[in-house]
């Protein structure tokens, strides 16, 4: 039997095939990451609101922008939008160390561990009571349990903070963005950017203070391995400096 050599496969066109694939991927994909600010839209309410709670002036940080792209922060005209973040930081920190009722900034409450635990127990008892009531509304039960969670979070936060009291900004304190129909998106985005910067700066300071590392580091590490400790750290920072933004729908 004649020994025949197996003919070699010609691989010369392999490169061409690979190039073709490569070019296909180059064309159909993008390198740039999508960067954005995520915001929540309030849930639609079908029932008309009856009793509207009055919000104290000191708790509002209003940023207004008109059709001409003029900026107004807390009823004062502002030329340079870069100054917004400083004003936001001032808004959060003015009364942080000591409450001064004469100024126009939100008050802080300081709550001790004992008070938190008392409140937590009360909330738990209430939640149970509601759950055991015949035909209680599911919404109310959920609401009560959310309160329990809130107090639990506060307890964890204070434990992590390691101080006798947990400082908390007034629950009404918020930042509202009021733009008009024709305000350029550029300015709207700039406002968002400034707010994000201010919140980052505040939380970063606290993170350096309490944990000795930057907020950015904690965030990145949490995104990588979702550790419980980092979650607690981030919860604490967001309790200290909550990002409460309200975006007001412009009138037609």
């Amino acid at each position: 039997m004649a020994k025949r050599e197996i003919p070699e496969i010609n691989a010369g066109s392999m490169a061409d095939i690979a190039f073709l694939l490569l070019i296909f991927f180059l064309v159909t994909t993008t390198m740039d990451k999508d960067q954005a600010y995520v915001r929540s839209i309030p849930k639609r309410i079908d029932v008309p609101i009856t009793d509207i709670v009055e919000v104290e002036k000191r708790n509002i940080f209003a940023i207004r922008a008109n059709f001409n792209n003029d900026l107004m922060v807390r009823k004062e005209l502002m030329q340079n939008p870069d100054d917004i973040s400083e004003r936001v930081i001032e808004f959060y920190t003015k009364n942080e160390k000591k409450n001064d009722p004469t100024n126009d900034f939100p008050m802080y409450s300081r709550i001790s561990m004992k008070e938190i635990e008392d409140n937590l127990r009360a909330a738990e008892a209430e939640a149970e009571a509601v759950e055991n009531t015949p035909n209680a509304m599911q919404d109310i039960i959920d609401f009560k349990y959310r309160q329990v969670d809130e107090w639990t979070n506060k307890r964890n936060a204070l434990k992590l903070l390691g101080k006798p009291e947990l400082p908390e900004i007034h629950f009404q304190a918020h930042i509202r963005i009021e733009v008009q129909q024709a305000t350029e998106y550029k300015l709207f985005a700039k406002i968002q950017s400034e707010l994000e910067e201010a919140i980052f700066e505040l939380r970063d300071r606290a993170a350096q203070d309490v944990f000795g590392e930057s907020y950015g580091t904690i965030q990145r590490r949490y995104n990588m391995d979702k550790a419980k400790l980092d979650k607690d750290k981030m919860d604490l920072l967001s309790i200290l400096y909550p990002a409460k933004f309200i975006e007001v729908t412009p009138k037609k």
């Binding site: 490569l22 993008t30 954005a36 915001r39 929540s40 839209i41 350029e184 998106y185 985005a189 700039k190």
Partner: protein, 173 residues
């Protein structure tokens, strides 16, 4: 009588290209890993404004928990002129919208149907309810903010309660 040997007419040796496919494949795999596929080719011009401290949308994209919406002037000058007459300078662009007429594509009213269609066509393993699916608005610098709020209103109606404002981040990372 020559001291030098006459140079042979030798052909230059061919370059060995047997490793070329390997190199190209390596490049190919690099690009496959480092890039994400384009979600669509918008027909409106979008120049994003700059911003700092943004959130990266890539993880949401990988879990397909995000839909993109474009807001800008139409690229096609004819179309731009036509819509400008109707008082619409900035138009919406949604990818893969099941529209009945081409005009529908640019209308705020189409958002609901687009969003619900998109939600229906998501893979079944995705557990996120519609409230959790982000709608990312990529708007042009000059777009009126009022349109952003029109979009928000539409999303609120169908309980898609997460919106993202896209910007260009030159700062961190």
């Amino acid at each position: 009588m020559s001291k030098f040997r006459k140079e042979d007419k030798k052909a230059a040796p061919g370059v060995n290209t047997s490793s070329l496919p390997d190199i190209v494949f390596m490049l190919l795999f690099f690009f496959m890993v480092a890039t994400t596929s384009k979600e669509s080719d918008p027909t409106v011009k979008v120049v994003q404004p700059k911003g700092l401290r943004t959130e990266d949308m890539t993880p949401y994209k990988q879990r397909s928990e995000i839909d993109f919406l474009y807001l800008g002037k139409p690229l096609n000058p004819g179309r731009a002129a036509k819509y400008k007459e109707m008082g619409m300078e900035y138009l919406l662009f949604m990818d893969n919208v099941a529209q009945s007429t081409p005009d529908d594509l640019y209308n705020v009213n189409a958002i609901r149907r687009w969003k619900l269609d998109k939600f229906e066509s998501k893979p079944p393993r995705m557990s996120e309810p519609i409230e959790g699916v982000i709608t990312c608005v990529k708007a042009d610098e000059g777009a009126p903010s009022g349109m952003i709020f029109d979009i928000r209103k539409e999303l609120q109606e169908i309980d898609a309660l997460k919106i993202a404002y896209a910007v260009r981040d030159n700062g961190n990372i």
